[in-house]
Amino acid sequence: MNRTFIEEQLKKLIVESCTAKDLSFEDIKAENDLINDFMYDSISLIQLIVNIEETFGIRVEDSLLTFEVLSHYEKLLEFIEKAVKEVGGINDNSGF
């Protein structure tokens, strides 16, 4: 599973959990802060964790996932990449 695939999935999850209705994939940039830029709150952040765990097949440990990591898009992406690598990746069979 490559970075592009993870990034696509993550963007999809961010749009799904976001309360701002007009958010699209193109709006999400590396430097974005989910709280400041996309009106995320504590509830949507936790829902995002749940969705990340389900989609990527990872278990997010409380101690590893800080608010700073979770609220920042680029840091979150890096966190998931690392976590996915540790569990051996998920099966990317999209389109086949």
Binding site: I35, Y40, S42, S44, I46, V50, D62, F67, S71
Partner: protein, 416 residues
Amino acid sequence: MTTQVFNMVQYAFYHCPYYRKAFGNAGISEMDEGKMCNITELPVLTKNDVFEAGKEMMSSKYDRYPDNQYLDIRRTSGSTGKMLKIYWDRRDNARSLFSLWKARKSWYGITPDMKFCSFYTINYQVNKVVEPVKELVGMNGRNISFNKADLGTRRLLEIYTRISEFNPKWLTLQPSIARLLAELIEEQKLPLFQKLSYIELGSEMLTLKNKEYINKIFGIRPSDMYGTNELNCIAITCAYGNMHIMEENVYVEILKDGQPVHGEEGEIYITSLTNHAMPFIRYETGDTGIIIESECPCGHHSKLLKLTSGRVSDYVRFANGDKMSSFTLAGIMEYTNENMGNAIKQFQIRQHSFDDFEVILALKEAYGNWGQSIADSFLSNLKEPRLDGVRWKFTFVNEIFPDTVTGKHKYFIHDF
């Protein structure tokens, strides 16, 4: 002092006129990292200090754009009888509540997509208090929040039926309301809520007696969430029954006669690590407890807090044996206050007999002659039929003092 605590103390010193003055009075004229002071050198903050300081408690950063657009306003629940307006930066609030949601998720498997029921005192719509309604539906239909007013048997039965139909995964409510609901279920031999797997109790001290009774009726060991509007969640019990301090959100101190103590019971003081709009440094909660530094089998490494005293809610009593949560009266008082220019400084309601009530009010100086209008407004907001025909006496004083024995300020007392 940890870096996190120091950062907040330093921020408060440089941004809030109140702290600049208060720390200055304590002999602190600068706040550099190289000269990190001990937190015990800083003055403590009481509810009265917050009340008197008013806007001086707020960070000057929020006087202007862009930060002022992120402000959320809340009022204290009135459970201390002292009306405070609390400001939160929406972003800080998210950070602050994040640790509570993390605990719910990892300890109890509770996530935001699960249905839950709660109870509310004040109906806020975009930072404004509006007239209460029987129930509010929120979170895209996943939450029903019932008005605490009118928790008589008939209404409670309606609420029970509504909860049964809604079939929530969890409940968050005050111990006194959970007890009323449990008593109804037991007395009327009602079936339990099918999907219910978690009960979170908060806003009042959870007594062992109530905890055991709620556990017995619902078959669920309730968690005890200790928090306030000013600080959000301070601590919450894990599945092992130990109350963990939310160390990402608050720093907790225990003081006895003004001095810090370790492993001993004392008064609980809190420093918020997240609220930048209105920092709370060494804030007196009025509760007592002990910090326990031992490992919990749950694996979470934060310090443990054992509450030894806290707010307990009383009930309004009726001649036919009915009980009503005193939150009802606190809610009406808050609603009245909001509609009367926030004129009320403190209040206390005393029930002298089944049909004889006294409302004691301390008004802000500028509103000294508003007494009658406030009394009329309060009475017109009472929509509880069981209070029809009772006598109300309004007494105006300069200040309401705490109980001389307990040192606590109770907003509702029945003395018969």
